[in-house]
Amino acid sequence: MTVKEFINLGIFEIVSEGSNPDRKITVPYCCDLLSIAMGRMPAGAAWVTVMSNVNTLAVASLTDAALIILAEGSVMSDEAVSKAKEKGITVLAAKLPVFEAALRVYKELNA
């Protein structure tokens, strides 16, 4: 499933659409500690996290994540949203807990 197809499902709110709609999503990945995410997140991941600062964007970009999903109603600062848009990073948001958000991704990828 591509990022665009996933966004079009309308499950999550769009924070930043990103500039790579045809990017394939490989797997959901959950982690809030940036160094662990940095070391272990697979390329193409849909990264579900509550961590919403600019460093989350840097980690997503450097590890080639397909998109970020902010769970638990976590909100990104205006500065971080601008940066996500500038860097073309897809960011979605949900009120769902981390596990449930990741489960939705998993179900859609394996539907």
Binding site: D32, L33, L34, S35, I36, M38, G39, A43, M51, N53, V54, N55, T56, A58, V59, S61, L62, T63, D64, E79, K83
Partner: protein, 141 residues
């Protein structure tokens, strides 16, 4: 790509919003040069962790990156407090990051380990009160 290319970056002190700019720039450069994606990813991860360490612990510093056909060498130099016990600092989970840094999602005690894991060679030269120089190499061939 037959010649060496050298890139230099200043890492600003205590500025988390700019941490990652140097590694992002190197990543973009390597991608453009056609370096294999897994090599690019390893360099990006190793260098970002180093950059973050310099911001958190060492009031910034400088990074010099040399790209040759055989390898990518990163030299991260700071004049921070130095590392008291390098072996201990390399233990997974060991961290001296303060609470405000942990609140940002750092301080898992995985930074140096990620650097070691993602580089083919890593040498840490550190003197307490003087500073730290970390040299990492990632082989292209």
């Amino acid at each position: 790509m037959n010649e060496k290319l050298t890139l230099s970056y200043e890492v600003p002190a205590d500025d988390f919003t700019r941490a990652g700019e140097a590694s992002g720039s190197v990543k973009g450069m390597l991608k453009k040069m056609g370096v294999a994606p897994d090599i690019v990813r390893r360099v990006a991860i190793a260098m970002y962790e180093g950059e973050i360490n310099m911001v958190i612990h060492a009031h910034g510093g400088t990074i010099n990156v040399t790209i040759s056909p055989e390898e990518i060498e990163m030299v991260l130099k700071d004049e921070g407090p130095g590392i008291e016990d390098i072996e201990l600092a390399l233990q997974p989970g060991f961290s001296t990051a303060p609470d405000n840094i942990r609140a940002l999602g750092f301080g898992a005690g995985m930074g140096l380990l990620n650097m070691k894991k993602n580089s083919d060679e890593m040498v840490i030269d550190s003197t307490v009160g003087v500073g730290t120089t970390v040299t990492m190499k990632v082989y292209i061939k």
